[in-house]
Symmetry: C2
Subunit: 139 residues, 2 copies
DNA sequence: TAATTATTTGATAACTATTATCAACATGCT
DNA sequence: AGCATGTTGATAATAGTTATCAAATAATTA
């Protein structure tokens, strides 16, 4: 089930610890989670986990590109497991984040714009801020 | 020249102080700047400006929407004066940021995707991470 | 499976970043 | 000029992140 993850950890000399797996599992279940959210959630399983352990793991998981940061305007960064490229619908009110498929058009268009400036694009990030379905109604 | 800015400040009961104008001027010249960069720069003019003053100004300028935050992955946020919508080419090596025009196509496409999810899009943000012309060469 | 090595964990100290407080001061208005 | 209100600068208080290090654990080897 998570053989690919374990393999990637081993490739980079990262050990497969229960804490690390629980962090990854939390990210999987949450989709996107902040340091605090991860910490609170992982503590349910590992009562004595240290906040520092969460930070250290996030750093190493970023380095080996198992996860990526999602830096947000006026809010704390969230982290997500790397999968296919996608965009984000970010609710300004409740903070919820929904993934949507990045149409290829957009990505192609973006890298075209970039190469016109002789910029070597590696990653395209499209974030849409606004109000989610729910918050739009209860306004 | 900056009548529109002064007007907007007054509309929101923000006073036109020299420090505040210098911060705006710095953002204008830099294009994008972090808190630290603004602080260092403004200090050249106002020797005794406090870091707290910079923070407070950034907060109030954000509130009245004269500037916006640019939250970056693995780097400190930068701030920019709000003008026409545009995208960013962000160099992972030197940290430089270049504005590019967001083709209308992309924006339209994005809000189409959003409304399909019943999401009320307010702002679309397209960031392209990679290597700038310069860093690409000296690699 | 015991021994060995390298990494990780947890606790906490150290450091960095941000916000709050408040008296003195500056701005905008009349 | 005089008043009301917002701002500044200094600094204390918080919050967020990173560094340190001994004890514990995972992975490897014998």
């Amino acid at each position: 089930m998570k053989l690919d993850i374990i393999q990637k950890l081993k490739e980079h000399d990262l050990k497969v610890t229960p804490q690390r797996l629980t962090i990854l599992d939390t990210l999987n279940r949450y989709g996107h989670a902040s340091i605090d959210e991860i910490y609170k959630e992982v503590k349910k399983v590992h009562l004595s986990i240290s906040l520092a352990t969460v930070y250290k793991n996030i750093t190493s998981l970023l380095q080996v590109k198992l996860i990526k940061e999602l830096a947000l305007n006026e809010a704390k960064s969230k982290y997500e497991i790397i999968k296919e490229p996608h965009s984000h619908l970010i609710c300004k009110k409740c903070g919820s984040i929904e993934d949507i498929n990045l149409s290829e058009q957009i990505e192609q268009n973006a890298s075209k714009l970039a190469s016109a400036k002789e910029f070597a694009a590696e990653e395209t990030e499209l974030n849409i801020y606004g109000l989610c379905k729910n918050c739009k109604q209860n306004n």
